[in-house]
């Protein structure tokens, strides 16, 4: 019992639960008592080992929290018991959804670019000022290594309206020549219309890693939709994470993303059962 109390005192010191007076007394004793020093050191090592276990446990838990996100949209165990009954129904519903998705795609294709812009362009509250004067629209780079300003690269900066105008003219080539995330975004939309989904995904990816927060969000939604059209969504962890992020985030697309997420429930369940 005496030994137990002795060790408990060391543990309380290391856990920081001793009183102020208790702590001062312990530290004074520590200075003159080699046995206490040694035992305290040993407890510290034991604490490190326990912390390691706590970290491991937390990591496992985070893994399960992440899985919960996906599991919440996949069938619960009872689904398996009745899968034989509902398999034909599940197939029918999946087919229906696939057809709907296809129809939706063709309907989307029928849209003029003008309509796509008006239907999809969000109210960008934080769009940076891109309405600079013509004189200002030459970007110069400083060559610091030579200690002089040098116009080594000249790149026209396009306003958002100008980029949209080019987009409406279906000029993919011109959009691709502009180094701007907004141009990448609209190039991605044109590539979808051409069914060049993999290239469209690359364009949206470029927007996502850019520094334009408004278009990043929009590009994430388009990325998910394109991954669905490209049939790569199932294996695309990034697309899944983006959809969940959009759904749970406070943004203009959380409602749209939640609806898309909800619609994906049935195909995902089908995949899981299969």
């Amino acid at each position: 019992m005496e030994e137990e109390n002795y060790f408990e005192r060391i543990e309380s010191y290391l856990k920081g639960t001793l009183t102020k007076e208790g702590k001062i007394a312990f530290e004074q004793e520590l200075l003159s008592n080699p046995k206490l020093q040694e035992d305290t050191e040993m407890h510290k090592l034991a604490f490190s080992a326990i912390e390691y276990e706590i970290s491991n446990d937390l990591k496992t838990k985070m893994g399960s929290w992440l899985n919960e996100e996906e599991e919440s949209i996949v069938a619960d165990p009872s689904t398996f018991k009745i899968r034989s009954l509902f398999r034909p129904l599940a197939i029918a519903v999946s087919l229906f959804l696939l057809v709907s998705l296809g129809l939706n795609f063709y309907a989307h294709k029928e849209f003029s670019n003008e309509k796509i812009v008006s239907a999809m362009a969000p109210p960008f509250e934080n769009t940076p000022d891109r309405t600079r004067s013509a004189e200002d629209r030459i970007l110069t780079k400083k060559d610091n290594s030579q200690g002089v300003n040098q116009k080594d690269t000249v790149q026209l900066i396009y306003t958002e309206d100008e980029i949209i105008k080019i987009f409406k003219q279906d000029s993919l080539q011109q959009l691709e020549s502009i180094e701007d995330p907004i141009a990448d975004y609209y190039a991605g939309i044109l590539l979808i219309n051409d069914k060049r989904y993999s290239e469209a995904l690359e364009k949206f990816r470029a927007v996502i890693i850019s520094d334009n927060p408004d278009y990043q969000l929009h590009a994430k939604l388009e990325y998910v939709k394109t991954a669905l059209l490209n049939k790569s969504y199932k294996d695309d962890q990034e697309a899944k994470a983006m959809l969940i992020e959009l759904k749970d985030g406070q943004n203009n697309y959380s409602k749209v993303a939640a609806e898309l997420y909800r619609k994906l429930k049935i195909p995902l369940r089908k995949m899981f059962i299969s």
Partner: protein, 197 residues
Amino acid sequence: MKLDFKDDKALIHAIKSGNQMRERALKEIYTSGKFKSKVKQIILSNSGNLQDAEDMIQEGIIVLDKNIRNDKFKGESSLEIYLTSICKFLWMNQIRKNSKVNLSDDFNSFDLVAMDHPGTVLLNNEKSQILEQLLDALGKKCKRVLSLWKLSYSMPEIAEIVGLSSEGMARKTKYNCMKKLKEAVVANPHISTLLKN
């Protein structure tokens, strides 16, 4: 997502309290888009992918949890900024180790002093393996009891969670497990050296 904690103060308090409240608070941090989005943006902008971002968030939360519980986080910044700083720090280490890419300007100017000592929990493989062996030798029950005790669970709570008959039994089990752990550390000087480092 429904938030259980109204602000950083409530989250920190819950983490410090250990017990089940800690787990709820950490889950909220981990699953909240608010905490994740900035980290993702940073990792994606510095040659990482979403899986890298996910890994860094997990490692970052482990450091955050440990630093809050051990009073190393002084509350001089918001939890969001703190977690982002930790993840930045961890990712910087990772990419430097792999010499994968040039860091962005934002990364190169990253100031460690601005952080409340994030510390590193990334253990080398050797240390991890030895700790795994040490803890495995203790047995599942001992690992659980010691972890719960370190996380400030009360003895009656530990007894209930682990399935021990009484508070007294929980106390006795914890004492014996701690003794066993210390003996294992003493018996293996290599472990002591690794843990000291």
